[in-house]
Subunit: 343 residues, 3 copies
């Protein structure tokens, strides 16, 4: 499929700056694009590539001002990244396999109804009493335990595992290898130093439009529910312990870990490999830098970084001071010498 | 099922402080509980909730003294958390699916005997020469390699993978997605800068009563065995490299990583996201705070934190000093000015 | 199988220092080895064990000089670890199951050709248009999506998942639970604070001789490809985000995380739990200590450590200064007292 710059601009509400007849048939990153490719410029770090890119078309902000000649045709839009996203979606529907129907052998327990537009891949397992909405895709080797519900339009990728009784909302995406509802890590010490397992009889409740990354684990609650609210996005290899709660539209990058009973507010942005202590509350709209350690409660709108975390500006200053510690020790030594001489 | 406060107190050896006739049918967390629920108070951080909880019954320590009126009926016990655990266990047996029998299709290699009380789920794989004890539950899509042994009463959750020749003790729990016995990460550099794989011909030996969390990986030894001793509990997404040893009754929180050949003693408590260098020895009863980095040997009974780790008290002091570094630089500058003026 | 010291020395080009007739039938670590075992000494930390080991044969460097009597027969070689590796390989071929053929039930889509020397385990899934080279082993419950190619001699261990259209080179090893090609973590914020998913229409391209550890995740590119070059070795539980590139012969230890679009050069050594910011470039032959945080570009041949990372020597100094911060505060206080007294 080929599209001309003029057609694309009309489709996305942009204005062409160059040749409206130039055509593209693929997407590429600005530094790798060749003739026939459309690309975009959103991150200012990449601006210099626009003067050398081989792309035929580049999506740019409406206010973009070229400081050198640009070979590509530009399409000016309000938000190049969001526009690209819409174009990609269009392409993605054409390029991504859209399986449908029931492949055999799979295991669907007696009495479980699966809608007409669903996909159940080979070797998938759906337990007793499970409720599968319409348009759900359950890929091969996925496990849907007894009593689990999966809302309309959700996708459970290959090998994802959902333990019994957990609830998955509508239009959720659970990536391969994610484990939803394994036992929370709860043990009571006994007199002889060994541990007694605390049964974990709660569940996991995942609201609508949530995405859970590959190999991420969300443990079931001891009692009640571990909750992930509407629109939250979790990257890969994240640990969300028992009875944690993650607010709506919060995004969490890969390998972050949230200890038991901690609540994270809505619209937060959490960097990769960050760790949260247990039993704490994080406010709304909080931003936390990668690899931070969060030992206590955090107020709304905080921007933190470090281990233990401090306001991000202080973290930068601390790191700068750290580099000058040797100098400081020398200066103090010098002062001591001066003083002793004067005594 | 409903139980009255008097019945429960008799069952668990507690004393009722309130209405012995009040009945409960569910469990809940103290801050979320409503009428008909039993809850508990163990962590002092939650004490204020006891004055407002809607729970019908609260388990408290025998010496609990209310500082305000409490609406709920109290049951006084020695250890509320441990008591709750026993009650949960009772409930858990009723609420958790207890599958039994062999679901088809599954793959059980010729000659492998599986006891009468076992469960083998659909799409589970049991290789040649495997030995499966009695009462073992092997959930769907689990993989038990050739020559693996699984002791009586152990549970292998969906999609857990155990490579050939590894040994799992009795009453172990291996959660979904855990990988036991993948190759250790061993490569010898060659003259041209590429790497030559060192075959990993050892195994993993997991003793009795061990729990391994979801998506945790325990690598097989280069030679000999990677060992996890009796009663150790590993949370989710932990890495235990080749030839590591983890002592009995040691608990390790999520996302910790232990490099090759390191030995951790018994009765240790290791915080989440902690990293251990390779070829080191950690003593018994060691406690390590979350996200610490452990570069060398650690003596028995140490309490460490930080990166690199120091005694936990020193870590707190260091963090406090870090916040005052700017002030210190200013004070030194001021001193220098004073001295120069006096010269 | 038993081998005599003389036979082994001839096989590996070593010289016997002791009894050429002594025989071994197993491998063991130097501190655990008993009679009948061969072991090796490469790491100087373990030298003291050579005087007490029960091993019958020890591989040592040609220039090894014993400082006490040694009971074992020595075989002197250029590189004991590399030599051991070759011996282990020989043993490994005998000890490791080498499955072959097609186990049923498995799912091989119509039209997919699988070579004669391949293994496809039960419950494995191979999608439409996949291309499977000769001698490939696809273990039970592995998932090979539509259009995936797997080069000659590669091994896909149980439960590994490869999403559609990704490319795996020759002689690669993908361990259990690894997920190759899940969606990159890309979302565009919308006006109401929710997020819009950016379709991820790129792929993952893994070159020849790459090893990917258990439960490691390598995300597909937004556009183009996430690339892992020839001979790179990734340990367990690593996150490689969309559009990352990892150079040839680079080794990365467990639980490291690489954010989107970051490029790591060739022949690098990256410590466990290290985190890389997105959109940065790491040079060739870079070495990074465990748990480091890398916020920006790194030049060729750098040796870094810390959070944020600094040259490794500076990190050691900083850690030493950190321990003396309390002392420094006291010294400054003392100076202030002196000055004030003299005023």
């Amino acid at each position: 499929m080929e599209f001309k710059a003029g057609q694309i601009a009309a489709m996305i509400g942009g204005t062409v700056d160059g040749d409206p007849e130039i055509a593209v048939s693929t997407f590429a990153k600005i530094e790798e694009a060749g003739a026939g490719a459309i690309t975009f410029l959103a991150n200012p770090k990449y601006t210099h590539h626009i003067y050398t890119t081989g792309a035929s078309i580049v999506l740019v902000r409406r206010d973009f001002v070229a400081e050198q000649p640009v070979g590509a045709t530009l399409i000016r839009v309000d938000d190049p990244y969001e526009t690209l996203s819409r174009l990609l979606e269009f392409a993605s529907r054409a390029m991504t396999p859209q399986p449908i129907g029931i492949e055999q052998p799979c295991h669907i327990a007696d009495g479980v109804a699966v809608g007409d537009d669903c996909y159940v891949g080979a070797f998938a397992y759906i337990g007793r009493g499970a409720v599968i909405g319409s348009g759900v895709k359950i890929y091969p080797q996925a496990y849907i335990g007894d009593g689990v519900s999966v809302g309309d339009g959700s996708i459970i990728y290959p090998g994802a595992k959902i333990y019994h009784s957990c609830k998955i909302g509508k239009r959720c995406i659970i990536h391969a290898g994610a484990v939803i509802g394994a036992d929370g890590f709860g043990f009571a010490p006994t007199a002889d130093g060994s541990y007694h397992k605390i049964p974990q009889i709660g569940i996991v409740e995942i609201a609508d439009d949530v995405e859970i990354g590959a190999n991420t684990t969300v443990d079931r609650a001891t009692m009640g529910a571990t909750r992930i609210e509407r629109g939250a996005k979790l990257d890969n290899l994240i640990q969300a312990a028992h009875n944690t709660e993650i607010g709506h539209d919060t995004v969490i990058a890969a390998q972050a870990g949230i200890a038991g009973s901690t609540k994270i507010g809505s619209n937060c942005m959490i960097g990769g490999q960050t760790g949260f202590a247990g039993h704490i509350c994080i406010g709304d709209r909080v931003q936390i830098g990668a690899q931070s350690g969060i030992p206590g409660n955090v107020a709304d709108d905080s921007i933190l970084m470090g281990y233990p975390a401090v306001p991000a500006r202080d973290f930068m200053r601390q790191a700068a001071y750290m580099k000058r510690l040797g100098e400081l020790f020398n200066r103090v030594k010098e002062l001591e010498r001066s003083i002793n001489k004067n005594k």
